[in-house]
Symmetry: C2
Amino acid sequence: MKIIVAKTAGFCFGVKRAIDIAFQIAQEKRKDVYTLGPIIHNPQVVKKLRKKGIAPIDSIDAKKNIKALIIRTHGIPLEISQKILSESCEVIDTTCPFVKKAQYYAKLLNEEGYQVVILGEKNHPEVQSLMSYAGGDVVVVNGEMPLPKLKRKVGIVVQTTQPLESLKKVLSRTLELAKEIKVYNTICNSTALRLNETARIAGKVDVMVVVGGKNSANTTQLTRLCESLGVPTYHIETASEIRKAWIQNAKKIGITAGASTPAWIITDVEKRMRDIGG
Amino acid sequence: MKIIVAKTAGFCFGVKRAIDIAFQIAQEKRKDVYTLGPIIHNPQVVKKLRKKGIAPIDSIDAKKNIKALIIRTHGIPLEISQKILSESCEVIDTTCPFVKKAQYYAKLLNEEGYQVVILGEKNHPEVQSLMSYAGGDVVVVNGEMPLPKLKRKVGIVVQTTQPLESLKKVLSRTLELAKEIKVYNTICNSTALRLNETARIAGKVDVMVVVGGKNSANTTQLTRLCESLGVPTYHIETASEIRKAWIQNAKKIGITAGASTPAWIITDVEKRMRDIGG
């Protein structure tokens, strides 16, 4: 049995940066430090951080005595940033710098008179944050749905973890509706590399195992990609979920993981597979 | 035998405007009035205008005594505009207003720091004119060729008679290379309508006849479109070219024509077909 682990599996630059900052603060053993929402979309990492004393809260009203608040990698809506600034707590911003850039472009496009179109998942916190910068005419679309009526001038920004293929589709459709289009391709490079490597591996294995939070959009996207290529695919959060039946007849197995999956979970999964597979 | 003539066949707004201006001047019977290059890409119209006393010249150096110079619908390069302005002759500019707009956007994109990509036919006078406004980094591409290496910021303008499908292709490819893209879709509406109607007619006839200058890019494009849809297609300039063998077994015949084809030639073609077809 051969196991191929994607080189691009696991923490991207932005997630690594956020987790380093958060665990550094945890080490200082300060009291009343919280993350606003889960810092990344990986329940195991969030649990580990909670054990170190930093728990997520849903809103700043949820706790009375906040000393410091950590802003998650996905960013937060502008209104909430402003509300936090009016509080007396310290703010530690781990928003991914690439998400910050997308926020900036959404704001710029709106100021330049473009109707902003965001390619992404409407309920994802990153998109929620981008929307708050994009002005009142903002429209959120995914790569599959038809576009609504658009204005003459349309500006496009993209959730950093979307596939380029979706942007191509949306842009082609926008050309039917708008006369002037400005696109900031804010898809981050590590997303593109991870999707490409995953597709390459999925093309030559009998089974794909995708590791990462069930709530992680980019991990789910990897799963969908592998499935669309016709290879049996299993999305797991931890090694304990692996079933012998999945892999016992496989000669080659591929492992990939989302940007929010820590290396230790990926190592565990590989190890467990070798234990089961013999 | 049923003949369907495309409603969108023939003179577009810009060509009609230019021809009206030129023949108006011809009527004034002034001496030493010339067009710089053929005013439109239709040899029959150019011949008619020559008979009325207005002939095309290749360059302003070609004639010594120019009293007035008519600028063709396709526009001219900026350097030549400047050279003409330094001469003492009168300038009558019949550049299509939509081409003027594309020139303006090419200039604007260059000033805003974009590397300008022009979608069009490199040797076409409209594209030659656009290039002169687009700065030193300008690249000309068509819908089929791979793109060269591009800068981070790319601005796209389009020859007014290109099909939207080509713009979609070029834009998809540009997304692989540039991070910020600004597109001015300068394809004129009458081009899009003519291509759409032609495709619709070609889909339901036995033979298509495309009428217009052999040197007309948009007429040639209509021919290619019909051929690509698998219908026997003939590109002619005048009624005299029609052969009985083309249409004798046809139950339905479609006629379309480029933006530079005058109504009288289209009428002649239809009449000649009815004469032959019985």
